[in-house]
């Protein structure tokens, strides 16, 4: 892999097991800084195999983002795809993850110096700052996932960390943006949609106390968006829950 961009450690926002996320002034100011995700090589895998895998994942991720935008799903705009360098450049979403808004902190994200009060974060304060109620926030989530599934796109890793609320301009409506489509794929299968929802349900349960009524509101709005398509997904979601419960009893 040739590196063309000199990505500066000072711009690192988050460091995961497979990728680093940077906030970079790629285009000259006053153009906004963009978000660059760098999937680095895993040393324990075969190098050429790894390069191929990372190319095809990057290709899939960027294509799915464009498909989402075409389907009216809020996702970051694609700015750059560098298959040789393993880079995906997207619009930087100014805002906060739903996880953090709900008081769950921000997993893996390296905090700025002025944010050292994370431990005492208060959900009500965040909600106030974004001028939304908890109920509205849950509906925004259900709405976006509904549009996604109607377009036959499966996110593959729905968590409250992978959705952000945009900082609101003047009197613009609140906007929820889905991020991290690294595991996304196209599917018309009811099973895939149900599993996508179940993954989010588990994420809610494990990171947010008293998540049940919250998640019920997410599903309520999701159902409204899906219309006639909701019934089969609902039935399958019940199945998936049952399988999940059995598995956890055995395991």
């Amino acid at each position: 892999m040739t590196t063309v961009f000199k990505l500066d450690d000072a711009d690192i926002i988050s460091q995961g097991a497979e990728a680093k996320v940077y906030h970079v002034q790629l285009h000259p100011s006053p153009s906004p800084r963009i978000c660059i995700k760098h999937r680095f090589q895993k040393t324990y895998r075969h190098p050429t195999l790894d390069a191929q895998l990372s190319r095809s994942r990057l290709q899939a991720e960027s294509r799915v983002l464009v498909r989402c935008l075409r389907a009216g799903v809020n996702v970051p705009v694609v700015r750059l795809v560098d298959l040789d360098g393993g880079l995906l450049g997207t619009e930087w979403i100014d805002g906060m993850s739903v996880r953090r808004i709900l008081g769950g902190g921000d997993e893996g994200v390296l905090e700025d110096d002025d944010d050292d009060d994370v431990a005492e974060e208060d959900a009500d304060e965040h909600l106030q700052k974004f001028a939304v109620t908890k109920d509205e926030l849950m509906r925004l989530i259900g709405h976006e996932i509904g549009k996604l599934h109607l377009a036959d796109i499966i996110h593959g890793d729905l968590t409250t960390s992978n959705m952000m609320l945009r900082t609101r301009m003047a009197d613009a409506p609140a906007q929820l943006v889905l991020i991290d489509f690294g595991l996304a794929f196209n599917s018309t299968l009811v099973e895939d949609k149900a599993v996508d929802l179940y993954v989010l349900e588990r994420a809610f349960a494990s990171t947010h106390p008293d998540s049940e009524p919250l998640y019920a509101t997410v599903l309520d709005e999701y159902a409204r968006v899906l219309g006639k398509a909701w019934d089969p997904v609902k039935r399958r979601l019940d199945d998936v829950r049952l399988r999940g419960r059995k598995r956890s009893m055995v395991g």
């Binding site: 000199k6 790629l26 000259p28 960027s62 464009v66 075409r70 694609v78 700015r79 750059l80 040789d84």
Partner: protein
Amino acid sequence: MLSSYNYPAFNSLAHVALFDNVTNAKELRSRLISAATMSGPDGELEREAVNFAFVDASLVVSEMHLQTALLFALLADARTSLRTKTVHSEILWALNPTNNISEAIRRFGVSDSTTRLLVVRVCTPPTSTSPENIETALRTGVAGDAVPLSCLSSFTDWSKLTKYYKLPAGVPHERLIQIVESTVGAKSAA
């Protein structure tokens, strides 16, 4: 007249100008074609005089749209993987969603009927040509009114863009701009 974008990572500086009421598009186009085959020192001079990306400004929705195509071209150039002859034609190629080079130039380049023109000159290294020389070349070459880049969004021809980018109907312009910019941004994965 010129806006300049500095790309230190690519050791490049791009100069951009926007023109309205252009009256010599036809002449520009034939100069571009003949410059390519002229020989001798006259050829050198003529090629330098038209060494720009001449882009139909009605098909560029935002400065970011242009910058996204420009970055694509700079990256391809840096990796010596240009699909077209020059970094300038690569910008046109990046703007067109298909893989057809002559189609990209026909659609996004200057045509006989072009009246709004976006002109880009990439200098690698940044000092390879002075901005004064570039301005002089544009003053003598383009018959039209230089206008600020901020006029770009008011020039947009949505019906052509809808056809070229296969844009969905009944969608606000704000979203269409996102789709158009993303299509260029994801071009290397298309």
